[in-house]
Each structure stands twice: as C-alpha cells, then as structure tokens.
Amino acid sequence: MTDAQTSILPAASETDADVPLVELRDVTRSFPGPPEVQALKGATLTVAPGDYISIVGPSGSGKSTMLNILGLLDRPSVGEYRLSGSLTGDLSDDERAAVRARFIGFVFQSFHLLPRRTVLDNVLLPMLYSGVPRREREERAREALTRVGLGHRIDFFPNSLSGGERQRVAVARAVVSGPRLLLADEPTGNLDQRTSGEVMSLFEELNEDGLTLIVITHDDGVARRARRCIRISDGRLSEL
C-alpha cells in the first residue's frame, strides 16, 4: 500500500504513453449571473505524459478557469475531464483533495508561501497532506530545495528572499510530493527578466526528468519555451 512515491518525480516509463495524462472533452464552465458568464466554451485538450504546454491569452480569457479545472479546484459545468484515464467528475470533495495532494503540483504567480514559516517548513507543508512517509519528509524537502538551488537558504524566512528565490521555493514545494502534473499560473508574473529565465530553466529541467507541465502565462517569451502552445481567447482554445 505504501510502495508508491519513492522518487521525487516519477520516471516517464512508469506511465503508459498511450494514455493521455490530461484529457478535457468539450468542457464548458459557466458562472451563473446575472449576467451569466461562460469562461470556457467547449474546450478540448489532450496532454500526453511528459509534455510541456503553455496556455496564453489576455486577462479575462478563461486561463485561470482552465487551470482551476485542470487542478481539480473547480468542476466543469458541462463536459468531462479525465486525469490519467480516470474520470474526475464523480470524485467527492475529499477525493479531489487527495488527488491534488498526490498527483498535482501548483505554482502561483504570488508564490503563496507562509510568511511565518521557514523555507524548509514551507516545503514540508504539502507532505503533511500527501502522506509521504514521515522519515523521508525532511530529506526530500532538502533534496528539492537543493535541486532548485536553495540548499543554503533552508532556515531563511520567505520575506528575506528575493522574488526569484521565493518562486523557486514554491517550485520545490510543488514537486516535493512527487506529482505527475505541475500546473503553473503566471509563474513569472511577479518576476523580472533574469529571474523569470531562471524559473523557466528550472521548469525545463523538471520536464526533461519526465514531469508533465502546463504553464499559464500572458508572456509570449515564456510561452514560446514550451513544446506546445495553446491560445485561449474568449473561452475557446486554439493550438498555435
């Protein structure tokens, strides 16, 4: 029962390449008004394991709604969402939380680090909920921080770090439980050019190790570094 989750990132060979990791089919998300807003209109998207996708679009185009549905934080109004071949529509609230804990990592524009916890404690936090064996937790947190180049900052508080460093802590936190899918919402939105580059390089390294990445951005430079680029406009997807 506890055999899974021994490496930080699962190797690509663990998953069947024929089964898409993410499969959206005719997903519509409407918010009851008045006026009723359709943030997504019949979105269909297939992401293979190990893929690296960017989703671009102006603000208000439905990017965040898309990410929320992909991250099981929101439910489609119409349509189906399969995660690694499994339908997610019938999952209970607690089951969705469990899938988020074990399967999905999040990186946010505004980092969302806990200000009164050290860098190490921030990275330990997701493992509370994902059930990584207790004796492995600290070692994995240190490994993840070393991997993002912050092994020397583990006892710092987030407020004493630069924006780029904070986002790297957030990336370490997102991958420490060993997710299969990493969702990033405007990860470089609060960063300058140089630190953006650092974070994007980190994403590329993680992708090379087999992690499936979906990055939402309105920065074309960031978007172009992905293997596939999806444009979202007025709730509709189009592949570029």
């Binding site: 089951e95 469990a98 399967f103």
Partner: protein
Amino acid sequence: MIGRFRRSRRTSDEDQQAAMTDAAGTPLVPAIAHADRFTFQDLVAEATSDIGSRPARLVMTILGTVLGIASLVATIGFAQTAAAQIASQFDGAAATRVVVTAAKAQSGSQNQSVAAGRLPWDSPERVTSLAGVESATLLGEVELTEGETITAVPVNDPSAAAVASPRLFSASPDLLDTAEGGLVTGRFFDAGHDSRADRVAVLGERAAERMGINRVDSQPSVFIGGVAYAVIGIVDGMERRSELQDAVIIPTGAARADFGLLAPSELDIRIVVGAGPQVADQAVLALQPDDPESLEAKAPSGSSDLSQSVQSDVNVVFLILGVIALLAGGLGIANVTLLSVMERIGEIGLRRALGATRRQIGAQFMVESIVIGFIGGLIGSALGVFAVIAVAVVQGWTPVTDPLIALAGAVLGAVVGWGSGWYPARRAARVEPVAALRGG
C-alpha cells in the same frame, strides 16, 4: 486494494474503482500508511505554530477569557476561603462544647419558670464514657445569703467601701481540662478534696487580683460568708467560661456541705469536633434515662450548614459578572479567529490546493481557537488563585481553594475557545480554494 482513495466511502462501487485507477491499472492515488496520514499531532502542530507569532494580538484575544476565568476562580476561591475562615472561628469557639442544663418549665400558678429536672451529682461520670466526649465538668453557682461576702481578710470592716464580692462557683475536679484553662500558680483541687468536702478554693485570675492574692505558697485564705477556705491555686485561660476569671471556685462537695447547694446548674462537656448533635442526644438519656425531657442540651449547629449558607450567598453577583466576562471573552476569541480566517484566506486556499480537506482546515482553526481559550483559561485560573491568596494574606486568613477549581478554569477556557471557534472554523472550511488563490 487497487485504486483506493483514502477517506473514500464508495470503494465497493465498481465504477468508482475504475475512476480511481488509470488505464494501466495502477492507482491514481495509492493508499497512505496510517502513520503517514495527517494525524492529530500534525493538526495540533499546524494549529498552534502561528499562535505566538503576534503576541500583542494574542493578549487582546485572550484578555476577555482571562478576566472571565479569573473572576470565576477568584469568586469561588473567596467563597471557599471565607467559609473555611468562618468555620474555623466557629469550631474554635463553640463547636467542641455541649452544655446540659435543667429544662425550664412554667409553674402554673405563680407564672414563674422553675427547673423541671435536675442534673445528678455524678453527671461527669455518666457522660464521660459516651463516644465523642473528651471531658465533662459539673458547675454550680452558689448564691450567698444577704450580707455574706467573700474577702481576703477575716474581719468585716464596717468603714470600708462596699465592694462587690466575686461570684462563687462550685465545680467538679475536671474543670481545667473541660474549660481549657491553665494554672497561674498552685494547683487545682482533686477528687479527694471534693469527696471530703475540704475547704479549699481556687481563684480566677481577676478575682485573685482584686483580693490582693498573687501567690499560694504562704497559704492565704479567703473568707466566704465567714468560713475560711485555703487558696490552693490561681487559674487563667478558660476562654470557654470567661465568667470564671472573676470567681472563686470551690469543690462541689464543700459547696453542698457549707452552703447547702441543692443542685448543680449546668454540665459543661468538651467534645471532639463534629460530635455535637450526637453527644447532645445521648447525654440527656445518660443523665436522666427516665425523664430525658427534663434536661436541655445545647449543641453547636453543624458547621457544614453554616459554610454552605455562606458559600451560597457569597458573591452570586461576582459569579454573574464572571460569566458575562467569559461571554465577552468568547466573543473576543470568535472575532479574532474570524479575522484570522479572513486574513489567512490565501493560506487556506494554498492548503486546499496542496490537498487539505475541508475537515482538516476547519479542525485547524477549531484547535487554534481551543488552544487560545485554554491559554486564556490557564492564565485566568492562575490570576484568580493569586487574587485569592493575596486577599487572604492581607486579611490574615488561610487561603482555601479546591485545586480542581483552577483546573476546571483552564478547561472552561478551552470550552469557551471551542464555542468561539465553531463559526470561524466553519467559515474557514467553506472557503473555496479558487476564490482564495485569486490575486492574494
């Protein structure tokens, strides 16, 4: 075992199982070993780690609870201390004393009250064998006839100013023991003096002073109605019978022989604490088995009644004030916890995104509120106990507080925190992660 979600309640459903495994048949979310789940210790650690990070706010949050608990603990402590104080004074003075006298009865024609019965001369022997009796003394007041006096000089000087004579009492030899008196000098008369009706006298300290007698080695005498009595001792103390301080005490036998004492006036019994009602009931039977109603025994009222009555009416007002302060304290915790939920909405969203369930989020704020209440209760209890001790020290009392009261105060604080945290925790659990993560 394949494809089990933790906390899943629908594992028997085939469709559900299919939904939880990927196409290769490996579980989407493998089960977690029990030890690695989010445990109660994790919950407490998460809930308490931020409590001390804002000391000023914490102080403001717990102030109401502290005051409420402190006033409750102090009020109960004051009541207990006061009751114990009253009980101890009461016990010291009278709780160890039973007095038996002849009952008074109206004599029909002359409308005078006369003694209905009489105490037997061997009363002390009859009651000392009763359980709870420590010692007993038969006392009688001897009325001298008109013109007879008690003086230290044998001649009656007609030119001397009239001085009131000291009172004359007869007593059995156990008086000092029963009345808890002491000897200033000399000795008390014994059973031999009594049975032989020896003319010996013991003086109360004030009577001795008035008659100018301060030592007994020169064998001074007092003249009682012209009869010489050898003074063999001077006594003091006897707080239970202060009238004896200013009296001449002679053996009962002498009083009967020389002054025709008809009956002793009362039997004074010293008892162990708490034996009062029982000794009173038994003594009259032991003294007058054939007519117990002819005697009257006065016993101390039960001290428990007294302290209870004190406890019940002491400070109902303070208790009410304490409860009101506690309610205000609870509202304070509720407000600040609610504010904390609103402030930490981003953190709640993050935790939900990281896989925390609504229940875990709610429990976190609940435990935080309970812990804050408990801290308030603990401080309040300590302050309350301290207040009781301070007042007791100033008043010179013995502080008395049930240790359970202090413990109960701390627990009550936790209960207040629990009640106050309920609504904020519910709000926290209902936070939608999507809304919480937006902007922030």
